[in-house]
Symmetry: C2
Amino acid sequence: MELDSRKLQILRAIVDEYILSASPVGSKSLSQNSKWSSATIRNEMADLETLGYLAQPHTSAGRIPSEKAYRLYVDQMMQHAHLSDDESKLLYGYFREHVHGVDAVLRETAKALSEITHYTAVVMMPDIGVNRLRHLQLIPLTTGKALAVVVTDAGVSQNTVIDVPADIGSEELDRISKSITARFQDCRMSTVSSSLVRELGGELSRRADFVESLLSALCNGQTRDRRMVELSGATNMLEYPEYSDVNKAKTFLATVEQKDDMYRMLKKASNMEFTVTIGSENEQEGFQDCSVVTASYRVNGTPVGSFGVIGPTRMDYARVLSILKNVQNNLSTVLQSFLKEE
Amino acid sequence: MELDSRKLQILRAIVDEYILSASPVGSKSLSQNSKWSSATIRNEMADLETLGYLAQPHTSAGRIPSEKAYRLYVDQMMQHAHLSDDESKLLYGYFREHVHGVDAVLRETAKALSEITHYTAVVMMPDIGVNRLRHLQLIPLTTGKALAVVVTDAGVSQNTVIDVPADIGSEELDRISKSITARFQDCRMSTVSSSLVRELGGELSRRADFVESLLSALCNGQTRDRRMVELSGATNMLEYPEYSDVNKAKTFLATVEQKDDMYRMLKKASNMEFTVTIGSENEQEGFQDCSVVTASYRVNGTPVGSFGVIGPTRMDYARVLSILKNVQNNLSTVLQSFLKEE
DNA sequence: GATTAGCACTCGAACAAACGGAGTGCTAAA
DNA sequence: TTTAGCACTCCGTTTGTTCGAGTGCTAATC
């Protein structure tokens, strides 16, 4: 059965109202701002309920939208929100001020998102694999240890502490750094593979074992690191009546702090321009009453990561989506500015 | 008026009991495991209340310890807790496994503390000022930008993105790195001051302006960074009845996430071997119902930072203190291992 | 004189009954 | 097809009521 125009209008009104109030919407209050009487609306509501778009917490309560309703709302009914000038200026300000490298920008992005939406924001650090090597520098720490710093066209990766043979000196580390940089410059990080090492002559091949383990550490190093997801505003959720129960809040916070899971979620979403995942569509246990809206970001045209907003299922999808779109633009501009001489 | 032995014993029993149960302690339940009758205990309790060691939530309730009582308890009455072998092995395990640099160790410390105590843990990254420069490396990023990586005898600092004159090339950055490293090797970071730059000849003095701004960026860079405090287990507090109210929880979480404040708190505490700060003795608004217990850690004999546990005022002080002591030992051993060749 | 048994009293937590209101479904009239 | 009207439902809140753990005080006991 198709939804006729009136049903759609009523459903939208219910969703809009519920997003604002978080409490079940009744026919009487709806009929105030509507051309239909409460009785008509009641009848339609009953239909919408049997069709699975509405649910009733208990017999004599109003209706609340089901996930199916949100899905329909997001896919077809939502009006595009328009950010006010103030808001987009505010948003722009976050990116204007803190431009000390990719990491800082993405941290700032998370902060901006959570502060402006009042929901929780997660930002995935760019996937290093698709980026091209600019510079590798090994820095001696102590005997047997060195710090490997990798610069790519997308900025700086986390640096990694690696083991080095005890007999390697500061100068040799320097020479190895230069050789590798020269050899792999502008290669994608994912292709910086140890298989090529033995082809190289001279010092590098003498240190083949070391260099191999070094390169594999660089490629995999990132996954070991827990800081690949920037989280902000987790406690914003405590504002919402959905989380007035401490246990629910705790479950949510625990979920959102599983950086591995968050990373997997965002990584998956980075292929898509935007995604909206509602309630039980989420894989995470703790997000069954949440929706996640994500957007991807690109560097040099390649999608390298994504960021998103997590809120209650009754989140203001229209507003969140336009904010994400805005941030997406700002972000690609700023990231591009790190690559001027490309 | 001095507290006689019986008053002390009763007070200690009340504190011990309240730490466990979080609910007011009555005379009857106390008299179960005591040589005195409930009436006697009642009389003593009345005295202790007028002396300010106990408080009564309402007329016909038991008594709860005041901050004054906790203070006395911590200073004089507390029995030293003894960690079980299992526990100290568990604790040791945290340090055994993750030794990829100072940062990682301190992150692991925070995690270990929060998981073992079930309270919230904060760890301050070491204060770089007192450490000695080992190595400085400037790595070209894009035209006009470079990454400065500083290695000290305590390990790696955060790296900083800096502006460089547009006409500086990769090789020149390298030479400048080497010059500065040579000149300031083994100087305390706080004394790496730009005043000395002009004394130097050659390339360095030609680039005097740049080098000056570089060095000041290095000394101050750390304070700009928000990651100087590692936080773990903030949501542990939601377990305790003190925080079953979402608003209280929110206030606490907001406070603990003020990394600047946490840093200031820990920095102040790093001069002391241990500190115990109870309830309103805390400066932070949000810690009026909390206690903070800290310990300092040293590198090469110099205290460079501190770490602590934040819990409700009725925290298990004895246990926390022995855990902190244990961690303090582990930590200095591990940090020392980064400085082998000293 | 110190301790304790006994007693009347207090107050909160927990449970139950009563009430009001917002909402519903259904029926019959417009 | 829409809507006014009505009986009904059920939640949230308020109002009692009871129960129990606790208290202070007094008088008896050690």
